[in-house]
Point group: C2
Chain length 386, copies 2
Amino acid sequence: MENVTMPKGFVFAGTHCGIKKIKKDLVLFYCKDNCNAAGVFTKNAFKAAPVKLCEKHIASGSANAIIVNSGIANAATGKDGEYAAELTAFTTAKELSIKKSEVLVCSTGIIGKKLPLKKITSFLPELVKSLGCKKKNIIDSAEAILTTDKKTKIVSKKIGETTILGIAKGSGMINPNMATMLCFFFTDAKIGKKELKKALKTAVDNSFNQLSVDGCESTNDSVIILSNQEGQQIDFKKFSSALTESAVTLAKMIVKDAEGAEKMIIVKVTGAPNTKTAKKISKSIVSSDLVKTCVHGCDPNVGRIISAAGNSSNQCEGNGLTAKVCGTPIFSNWEMQKFDKALLGKKMTKKEITIEVNMNQGNCSAEAFGCDLTQKYVKFNSKYYT
Amino acid sequence: MENVTMPKGFVFAGTHCGIKKIKKDLVLFYCKDNCNAAGVFTKNAFKAAPVKLCEKHIASGSANAIIVNSGIANAATGKDGEYAAELTAFTTAKELSIKKSEVLVCSTGIIGKKLPLKKITSFLPELVKSLGCKKKNIIDSAEAILTTDKKTKIVSKKIGETTILGIAKGSGMINPNMATMLCFFFTDAKIGKKELKKALKTAVDNSFNQLSVDGCESTNDSVIILSNQEGQQIDFKKFSSALTESAVTLAKMIVKDAEGAEKMIIVKVTGAPNTKTAKKISKSIVSSDLVKTCVHGCDPNVGRIISAAGNSSNQCEGNGLTAKVCGTPIFSNWEMQKFDKALLGKKMTKKEITIEVNMNQGNCSAEAFGCDLTQKYVKFNSKYYT
């Protein structure tokens, strides 16, 4: 948390408004100058009301504010839910003296419960008053978006004089009824609407879309970026790769914080004929319950890894793929390699397990991020009402 | 097991040849008359050697014999594996005085290990001698294909004078390194090659392909049917629906026997605009780890069910879908319904949990079969080497 830098022109505030019992549950992100804005949202057909509102408001490519509540997802809440999202945007806009269409709304928490609208709206004036650009404002905000997360997730990156700040929450759709992954980026970089959209899509495709905790895309998943143009013009490639790096850092923080998880799994696919195939295979391996349990048990299970790869793409055929676990070769020439199981099992007691697959077919590559499947996960997810 | 009937003209034998320590591990299914044959095989890119051989031999649409070993999958075994499968077919053909191309070979068990070829070939003469059509032959054979299964899986069905007999194994790709689902059908029905293929595809699509234990399609999954034409001509529709029913019965037996599972989950999707969508949504719900854990914990978790449905298809939108758990309405009009959680939780302590989704969009429907995710599953799958 030492090196967290706020980009120029943004102010944040996070507080407790009473949706949760004690913890912070309401955040406002704001910039007085109109920002270029881009978003990537869940593809789940049962999008939460705030997601639908965001998609509508962000279509213009600009926004000034994001209001976020945690504790209740405002999903599966019918017409009432839509009204609640609209009114939250309306009240926020009024308090800030901006247009309603410049306000984005996000919710995360229990699905099916209705939002206590009055608690939010009555706290808004105070929230606006406490907006600031200090480190405390960043930390309060990062805390107030959390649900089952154990830790805040913040990253900041300097590219010359410009700054990218990212704040995320999510520990997989892991807590009973909880929905899910939110991520907000703020930057003072001078970057056009189209470029911003493109950079965000690339960043999400290579980070959050390559992350698997339990394979579910929730009703509320949202990633949003605001760029207020207050800083310097920036080279697109530099900006895009810095944003992707920031997103990957946050994705790894999410995986490490996953409820019930004890280890992070990183799957690297290289030598792929194209990036799509590399992404598909890496994600298939990291998402396999059988791979997740064998990593948990420190078992270098060749069959499960190969089977998960072969399950996802016919392009695994060809020159013959090679695979390594924690650097130890386990498969090549279409057969299992001899290795010291005890030694490799010992290596697998580490907190970070790497599985490498080389398809020997081209120059494309991809990474995917996940975690082990533990008895704690099952226990946690089974014992909600019982 | 009372009503098991052998179709005319088939003889089976099952024995212990020494691949496993004590249990039976070698089976021969045979008919002296050449049979029409059809097969459906795994789409995994790392197909086991015997699967590749089966695909080659069954291309003609005919076969006389199937030789099956359990204990070792002969997968991820390179050139040696291919040689082992070929030699098994060759020796079997020689013993039966038929062509090698009329022999199909299946293996199931540990991936990566090489087949002890001599054990198989030296036992073949004895196996051929013990071929018979008694109930004991059926039971021996059903036992000898098992790996981690706790129970044999046999079904037989009469359609007028003709008989379908089905024998399956599989408890999901659940045991460390084990591969996986095998199913054999035998019938004396007079039915052409094309029709046989079509009926088998329909049966598999509606049973094994709608089954999810852990979502992995293994290196060895195979479903084969032999029809020796010794019985009567049969109406295609009657035959096809009897075969599908038999396959569904076996699929449910597999789910019930799944290692670590305590409950069967049946998801029924109705009112779908097309069958493909109905299949996709039902399978997405039954495959979700979050749904599986909440069923385990007797938690009627609306958010997880709806989210899993919405995750699989955008066609969930439209007229508004309704959902029930164990007959109790939990969702309609885009919102969670009020229900007595304690009462429904009590209903969910049963061994068979039904989740019904009505898309209110058409007349198509589908079912999917799965099981709950338990701590036992994780424990079993983690503790292999450790």
